[in-house]
Structure formats: C-alpha cells, structure tokens
Subunit: 352 residues, 4 copies
Amino acid sequence: MVVVMAADATDEDADNVAGLVRAAGGEAFVSRGVSRTIIGLSGDIDHFATLNLPAQPGVCDVVRISVPYKLVSREHHRERSVIRVAGVPIGPDTLTVIAGPCAVETPEQTLRSALMAKAAGASLLRGGAYKPRSSPYAFQGLGEKGLRILADVRDETGLPIVTEVVDPADVDLVAAYADMLQVGTRNMQNFPLLQAVGGAGKPVMLKRGMSATVEEWLMAAEYIAQRGNLDIVLCERGIRTFEKATRNTLDISAVPVAQRLSHLPVIVDPSHSGGRRDLVLPLSRAAIAVGADGIIVDVHPHPETALCDGPQALIESDLRELASVALHLSPLVGRTLTPAPAPVPSMSPALA
Amino acid sequence: MVVVMAADATDEDADNVAGLVRAAGGEAFVSRGVSRTIIGLSGDIDHFATLNLPAQPGVCDVVRISVPYKLVSREHHRERSVIRVAGVPIGPDTLTVIAGPCAVETPEQTLRSALMAKAAGASLLRGGAYKPRSSPYAFQGLGEKGLRILADVRDETGLPIVTEVVDPADVDLVAAYADMLQVGTRNMQNFPLLQAVGGAGKPVMLKRGMSATVEEWLMAAEYIAQRGNLDIVLCERGIRTFEKATRNTLDISAVPVAQRLSHLPVIVDPSHSGGRRDLVLPLSRAAIAVGADGIIVDVHPHPETALCDGPQALIESDLRELASVALHLSPLVGRTLTPAPAPVPSMSPALA
Amino acid sequence: MVVVMAADATDEDADNVAGLVRAAGGEAFVSRGVSRTIIGLSGDIDHFATLNLPAQPGVCDVVRISVPYKLVSREHHRERSVIRVAGVPIGPDTLTVIAGPCAVETPEQTLRSALMAKAAGASLLRGGAYKPRSSPYAFQGLGEKGLRILADVRDETGLPIVTEVVDPADVDLVAAYADMLQVGTRNMQNFPLLQAVGGAGKPVMLKRGMSATVEEWLMAAEYIAQRGNLDIVLCERGIRTFEKATRNTLDISAVPVAQRLSHLPVIVDPSHSGGRRDLVLPLSRAAIAVGADGIIVDVHPHPETALCDGPQALIESDLRELASVALHLSPLVGRTLTPAPAPVPSMSPALA
Amino acid sequence: MVVVMAADATDEDADNVAGLVRAAGGEAFVSRGVSRTIIGLSGDIDHFATLNLPAQPGVCDVVRISVPYKLVSREHHRERSVIRVAGVPIGPDTLTVIAGPCAVETPEQTLRSALMAKAAGASLLRGGAYKPRSSPYAFQGLGEKGLRILADVRDETGLPIVTEVVDPADVDLVAAYADMLQVGTRNMQNFPLLQAVGGAGKPVMLKRGMSATVEEWLMAAEYIAQRGNLDIVLCERGIRTFEKATRNTLDISAVPVAQRLSHLPVIVDPSHSGGRRDLVLPLSRAAIAVGADGIIVDVHPHPETALCDGPQALIESDLRELASVALHLSPLVGRTLTPAPAPVPSMSPALA
C-alpha cells in the first residue's frame, strides 16, 4: 500500500500518517521527492483500512498494491487447481463440457437434453430447477420437482448434475440432489448465498456478475472459500456494455486474466454471453482456444417451445460439430476432452 | 408486439406466425410491404413469450412495444404516488431528506449522526445494521444489535428509520424494528429477497442495480408490488461506467425518466454515486433541481474513523449548507421540504 | 511516479530501475518493505515514459501520481478562468445560455431560432454549418453558405455565434465567420483538428468524447492550449453507457470534477445528452444547480421538419420556462445570468 | 420501418402518419390492434427520416427494421469479399497475419521488426509514422521520414506495408508510400478522413471505435465505400468497458457478428485490445478460432525502449509460438495461412 501525499502536504502530515501506521503495528517508509512525498506501507493491510488514511490531512491518494483476496489467489498457490465434480475433473489438463437445458421442464425434455449433451461431448449435465427471472410473470422453475427429475436423469445417463440455487434457505435441499451448485450472475454479490454455499459441502460454479470486475469476482469466490470450500469453478458469461448486437459482451480476455490471478479453474458460457444460437459454436471455439478449462452450453430438444432462453439453445444438428470442436481443438492447447462417466447400472431404475 | 419477417421469408412463414398467435388466443395483423412483411400482435403478450416466436422460420426480429411491468407502471395510474414512512411522506409535492451513518457502529455514533441528520433537514434516519461488503474481511455490520440501537435512537429523536435487509430469512426480524426496508444495489435482482420484502408489510426503498437499466429496475419493483406491497420508493445511486473519477456515474436523467414511466417516488443517493464528500452538495442540488422526490445522504460524526464509506460522509460543517439547499431549492421545483416528526415523549427512555 | 516491484523481485531489479531513472536525470527513492519494494520517482515524468519501466525485470506496476496535463490544470492556476466570446463571458460568476438550431437550414429558420434563443435567455447563438453525421446518407450541413447565414443573423440579432468545425483544412474559413469554434464529441481526439483550432485565434468549445474519461478530455484541451490558445470551454454532453432510455447518459458529476481539476469553464448540453425534448428542462435545472458555467440547448421553430435532431429541440412554449429557470436558479448558486449583447445597428443590413 | 402509435392515439393520428408517408412516395400499412395501432412503412427509408415521424401527434416510437448501410451490407452481396493488399489476400479462405512495430523509430528497429514479423508468420508489415497520442507531450511519430523507412524495409523484405493516416491533408502523401491505409480507433467517425481515404485508391483497414457499436462501425465503412472504395478490412481492437484489468475489452463476438452483417473481411488486434504481452498469444488463438480473417500484432526488437506501446509488443521468444498457432489452428477453421510474398530483387537496394 502506498500513500501519496498532496503537493502542499507538510512534513507533519507525512509524519502523522507514518505514526498511525506504526501505532497499528505496520511499517512505513517515507520517500520525500522534489514535488511530492510518498509513503510505502507494509504489514496488515486489512487493518490499515480502519485507519481511514484517505481522510488524513495532506493525503492525496492511497494506492493498494497487493490483491485483496488470499485463499483463491495464485500468489501463494502457484499450481492451478483441479476441481472434481462427482469424479469429473475440471482443471488445467482437461477440457470439460457441461451441457443441458436452461430450465428443467419435463422428465422427457430433460432426458432428451441429457442425451444431446452427451452427443455434444459433455461429461456434466446442467439444468435449472430454480430460475431467477427478470419478470415476476415469467416461468420460475419447477423447484424440488425439477431436482428430482435431474436426479432421475443422472441415474439414467450417468452424468453428474450442476444446478442453480438462488436462496440461502434452499441450499441444503439443492445440495442434497446436486453434484455442483451454481451461483448465477445476479447473485455473484449475494453474500448470504455465497456463505451458505461455502458451507454446503459441494463444489460451486460461480458465474461472474454481469457488471463485476475480475477482482470483484475473485472477492466473491473468497467469500465461499472463507467458509472452508475451495472447490470453486469460475464461469465467465459475458459482461454488460454499450453494444447491443449481443445479449452480453463475452470478455474472452477474462479467462487468462483470472487464471493468472487465481488457481481456480475458469470456464466459459458461450450461450448466455452471445444470447444467439449462431454464436455458440464460434464462441465455444474461441473459449477453448483462449485456454478455458471448460465450457457450459444450452441444449434443448425443442428450442422453439423452450420456457426459457430457447433462442440460444443448440439443436441436434449442432451437436456433432460442438463435439468435434471440443475433441480437435483441445490437443492444440495441451488438453484432453474429459470423457462422460458411465451410468452406474444398479442405481438406474427405469425412468418414469 | 411486432414480428418482423426476414427479407426472404415466405408467405407460409408469415401465416405460420399468425396462426400460432391466433391459436394462443391473440390477434395478428399481417402487413406485406415491398421488401418485408411485418405482423402486429395484440392480446396476452406474456403468453406469446412461450410461443418462442424468434425461433420460428422466417422470423427476423420480435419487437416489444409495450412495457413488461404493470402494477408500477404509470400507464394505468397517472397520478404519482405518495408513500408514507411512519407518517413521513415521500411524493410529488415534497422533498424528503433521509440521512444517517452508512453503518451503525455504536449508540453514541448513531445518536450523534441522527442529530446531524436533523440539522441537515432530514425527516428520516438511515443506518445499516446488515452491510453487504465486497470483501469477507470487511466489517459486516452489528446485526440485530444494530437494529436495537436504531430503535433507541428513533425513540430519542423521533426520526423513523430506514435500514437494509440482505437475506430473505432476516426480513421479519428487520421489519420488526424498521419503518422502511432498504434493498441494496447488489440485491436489486435478488428475487427471493424482493418477494420477501413484498410480503413484509413495511415500505421498501429499492436501490437501482449498478448495472440495471431503468426497465429492469421497474421490473424489480414489480416483483415487490406483485406480492401486494405498492409502498415502494425507487432510489437512483449511480451506475457503473468506464469513468473512474467517481465511484459510480450518477444517472441524473433516470429520475425524470423513471417518474414518467412509473407512479412511484424516485429519490437520489448523492453519497454513494459520487463516493466523494466534495461531490455530495453539488449532486444534492442537481438531484433536487432535476425533480427528485428526496435525497439520501451519509453523515458521520467522525468520518476519519468510520468503519464503512467514511470518505463520502458529510461532516458538521456541511450540514447547514445541505439544509439551506433543501429549503431554498424545493420551492423552485414546486415542493416543500418535509419536516422532521417530533419525538413521542413517552416512548423515549434515556439512551444508554 | 511510483514503481511497485514484484513480490519476487531481487535487489538488483530495484537497483536497475533506480539506476535508469538517475541516469535519465531523475531522483529515485527505494523503500524496501517486508513483502515488497517500492520506488518513488521525481523529475521529468514525461521523459521517464521513454524508459519503459513497466518492461524492466521485476517491475509489477508503475503508478502515476500526478496529472499528465499542465496548462489546463488548476494545480498551478487556482483561480477559475473567464473566457470571453466576442465580449460575452463564460466563467465562475455567470450563467451563460447558448442556444440555436442543431443545423443551419435556411436564413428564416436560423433567424427565427435566434429569436427563440434570445427568448430563452441566450447570449450566444449556436448553429451547425458542418455536421458530422453517422450516416453518409444524412444531411451534412450547408458549409460556407451556412456560415454566411449565421453571420447575417448575428448582425441582425447581436448574438455572437458558436459553430462546429470538423476538418483541419476548414479551420481558417470557419474562424473567419465564427466567434467561437466548436469541436464535437467525435473529434475530441482528432489531434490535427485540436492543433488547428489551437492556432486559430478564436475561443474553442471542446465537447467531451462520448467515451472519454475526464482525464482524456483535459488532455485534449491540453493539445489546444499547447498551441497557445487557452480560451477553451469544456462541454459535458453525455457519455455512452449500457442504459438506452436516454441517447447518452449525462455525467452530471463531471462538472464539479472537471472544475476541480481544471481552471477552464465547464458547460452542459442537456439536449444531446438526453436526446429527448421532455428531458431538456429537468436536465438544464440539474446542470445549473450542480454549478455549470453555462448550458447549450437546441431550439427549432419547426422541430417536426428539422433536418437534424428535431426530437430534442425545444419549441416556443418551452422557452419562457427555460429563461425563468436560468434567471431564478442562478442566484442560488452565486451567479448572474449573462445578458444578450445588443445588435450593433450599423453592422446590421436587412436580412436577405 | 414500423411506426408504433401511442395507446391513446386517435385514428386521425394514424391517418396523418400514413398520409405523410404516402405523400413522400412510400407505402403505409395500418394495423389496428386492441391496445395499439402500428403502421408498417416501405419505400425510401432515408427520405422518411426527413418526415420526422417521432414528432408527429400520437406517435410513440419509430422502429427501424432494416440496416442503414447498403454497400457494405451482406444482404445484397452474400459472398464474403477478398481484399488484396499488393497481392496479399485477406478473406474467408485464408488467415493473414499482419505484424510490425507500433511506431517506426529507426531504420534498424523497423527492419529488425519486419524480420520478426516474418518469423511470426506475417505477410504484411504494419508500422506507424503518424501516431495519434492522448498526450501532446508524447512521441508523435516520424512523419514522412517514417514512411520512407517503411518503403525501404518493404524493398528489403518484400512485405507490403500498412500504416496509419490521421489527417485528411496527409492522405495523398501516405497513399504514395503505403500499400494499405489504416484509420485508427479515434478516427472511426472522422468523416472527412473517411471520405479522403475513400478516394485514395488504396485498401483501407478501419479500426473499430473504442465505443462504437458494430452498426456504427459498418456505417463508417459505408462512408469509405460511398466514395468508390470497397477494399475495406474491418479490425476489432477492443471496446471500452468498466473492466480495467485489460486496456480494452476484446469483443470477440463482434467478429462473427460483423461477418454476418457485412461481406467485408474482419481481423482482430490482440495487442491493443489486451494491452499486455502475456495476453497476445491467448487472444490470437481465440481470434483465429472464432473465425477472424486475420490478426494484427505488435512486435518490437527492444520493447523495453519502445517509444510507444512497448508493454504489449511480442518479443523474439514469442514469435515461433505465434507462427505455430497461426499455422496449426487455421486448418481447423477451414483456412490456410497466407504466405509472405518474396522480395522483388531488383527493387531492393542496400538498406541505408
């Protein structure tokens, strides 16, 4: 942390700052230049925040020079992490495809979507039982009934399931069914929810807030980690900008940026970022090529009747191409496509 | 709703769209132009959404031409609403000042802040007992202890209290103490929370999400209204843009825009939008002049030791000027400054 | 300037940086902390830029701590400047209204617009003869013929004229007619144009680029100033954000921010920022109340047939209200409304 | 174009609009719905703009349903174009790498950069002789001397040259040396410059404005095309957003979006978008994978002493990897890497 004094600050002003920091147990190095004095601080940065240095006399600016997150930072954990979702790895050596319907609607639609996901190269099934919707008049999801459908389809197909949770009060229920909990873009700074999933004992996929900086995203991950859960996968899904040709602007650079700052895996959602089916394949290729640890895509057997986000769902004819892209691009970035786990026969009753 | 057909769409494509709409109980008017065909729809727009028209063959675009909110819309409720918070009005004929500390820290700090608020012309006291913070290592608020302090200070000063709630599970507890519930910017699309405050029986102040459009803000209000609570005050607090000279960019135009679209009162937070003490007075003047129904400002007796947002809090010497601004600008926009209610003597024990 | 060394930088790395700076004639103060070393620099900052310090081994970050503009900075010119346009002042003690049609179309339309401008309290006439338009198929302005119309109307009404120039090659021609040259938002970083108007001997109104930071805006002013022309008025006209309810987002905070950083006057364009007639009056009130040194508004006798920006032009019935706002709000911010100069009789031939 | 009437518009209002359109030679189709009337227009859309329909009584909104550009649109030119720069193709079947120093500094630095460019797989050399810089105190380029250096290096290496022009008055001079003219991001809406390069008889690379929508970008290309020059290559170079971890936010989706709307080639600048050397390779891979027709990258033999943008320039050790990426990724997207042309021996005197 560096304190920059104003051009007209006095020596007493600088001594005052140094004194406050030292009284708080830190070190302060005062450099008096021709036009300005600067003071370098070291010690317990978080504690310095309570000194309210920007409000001290003669202080012009306070510049933080270390990152405000610790557990998810790569600084003290050089090796990139591998997160396992019911055995399926997400990490630096693999490319993991997650696919499924935006919303669980019926057992048949979910099963067919899961089979489509497999055909597209997926090893994890996503599907929403609780849907955060901008309008109170839109379909809000099937709730626990949807979770049961997902569990049945997991038994049938072997694909572990990833599903969203939107209320801290629902975390235990959702965690009882899901293999991975998803925190959506609108909840990235829903701190009670972050704390709840931090204690749920299941891996978490944390979507980036649509107007969150990479630093805020990592701070949100830190909330989860601080509760003892470091099984976190970051998901870039597009940010809000002035451009309206796409639903959001996929921040493809955020993938290598976040991977450099954090040891956590980073995946990309090309469906929600573009919001258009014709962009899903190009953006999937870009995501794999940039070095993402995985992608998550919407598929739907009948997108024209989907209750949610139909226009961006892949259809049958796209699947083979996605699988081919995932298979052939992965080796060029030093990865292998994660295979789908086999269903466990005894666990798999006939699907109702 | 208008469906725009692609340049190469066939007559069958247009007939298909019209047929789907009519089968769903709506009306469809097909206009065949030289270069394109367009189809005007009327009926139950929300139901049409399930037809997934953008995915139909030959459809180029679907343009919504009516707003997606109803209860908070001004279209069927021309007169602007007055919301009363424990008797204190917020509405088109008044200017209501809400002031207080960002966070409740101690009884003394809260009482002194309340007296500062009164000196600044405030008729409502704000103060946070539950603080949503970007870092898990930052001060998170005193919780229920903070609520009790607020209640004591209300007894002492007569100022009704406005305080934030961040978890649906806390809504009943907070509502037991507060006169108005605040939903913060990070929770504007926390739908379980919106639904919970919609059923809490207390007025709600809904801050605009930092990257929410005015339409999304009104949709969030609709969530609250749909649960039977129309006592909602909208609060503009700055949006996220590329400009970093201020913490957020105050969208001053959003005040008249939202007032034209909705009958709900709209107030402005000049403290959080600018993030700098020296901007609070100019932005307060701008907010009053543009026609806001109120302002909400941070005050703190010792901003240099504040546990939260000290750099933006007004101090003693600013208060008289704020009170003067509120008093003298109001009549120029056809309003009167809302007076502070008197304390009720019997309710006011000695403050510990 | 502060150089922050990486956590794993060596002493040699720090010595290398210090050596480079000293060899370049600067001073370097090395502070070795527990976790990091920082180096404070003083001397010729611009020269240090050629050392490419961010690329030196062990360097983590280079933080600039002084502003990159000098001539327009308030640091060495505490008193705010008054710019005079053919005698009409724009500065800290006055409120100057500039009004007129977006584009000059005919002598009659321009004269009627000028009379409307006067009725609205204006002391300067704006009008475009050269129009930068997004589409090559849109009306591009009358060119020199438009300048002659403006000059005739100036003779008739006494109002000095403000008009835009878009090509460095046109600067001399436009300066021969105009009392003040306008550089538009799309040209804020057209450096040859800035240099040309810097040498034209006429005051310049510099509109903020629609995606320019306040710092970039002041750097653009520095380009003009560096050519010897310090008669510059800054004009905030809205920035580009995600919000689409208004054409641009008026950054009202930029007014006090720029006034604090620079001694130049700052005015506001409420017409182009909102893009809607119904917002011009509220935003004008906000601009005056926030402390702007003036406003510039579109007026048009027949906005429904205007060749440019008709939907945002004020009409007859709005003028009295604008004049009243300008007159009554000014004293509350310590200003007086600048009166319109009288026409000089001998210069005023019959208008063709 | 669709005119949406207000809910309370009368039949006369709708008839008035229809009448205006028909009087202007267009067709108007009135659809009266239960809650609203809409009017579909066809004919000369540009002419309708002069009718100022949004200002007519009872009009709520006017929605454009066709694109405002023609010559660069893909609607009437389905096949994607191939642009040839001194024989080097940029188009749908190839991947063309353009590389070189941000600024031309010396003959040696430029020649060495050109050899680096070749090693990186480039077939075109970029280098700036005229540099638009935010600060008037920064290096502004060598001007014509820089152009002569570029021409010498072209003779030596065989690489055609791409260089920026910033002033309409310089276009003829620059075109006399360059094989392709570059219009930079700050000049994307410098209309006199666009018109000048439109008449210069050389291919043009048009960088996207940092806050321009894809539609505005295509409108800027239309300006060039309208002057008879359709040899235009679009270059995505990052847009301005709230995220500060990268210099700009590379809008990778803009590549397929622009390719769908326009027949012109689209390339990507991974150096300026990220602003960091460590991002150039990942973003280059992403650009190729998404389907860009080429990339343009900064290289510099001594980035630590570069006069411009050193921190983002590739160095020797990166080149082989870039060449390998370009070679091996291209076939996966159905392209071949464009080979560098051989130098023409007789034209190649010893470099001074």
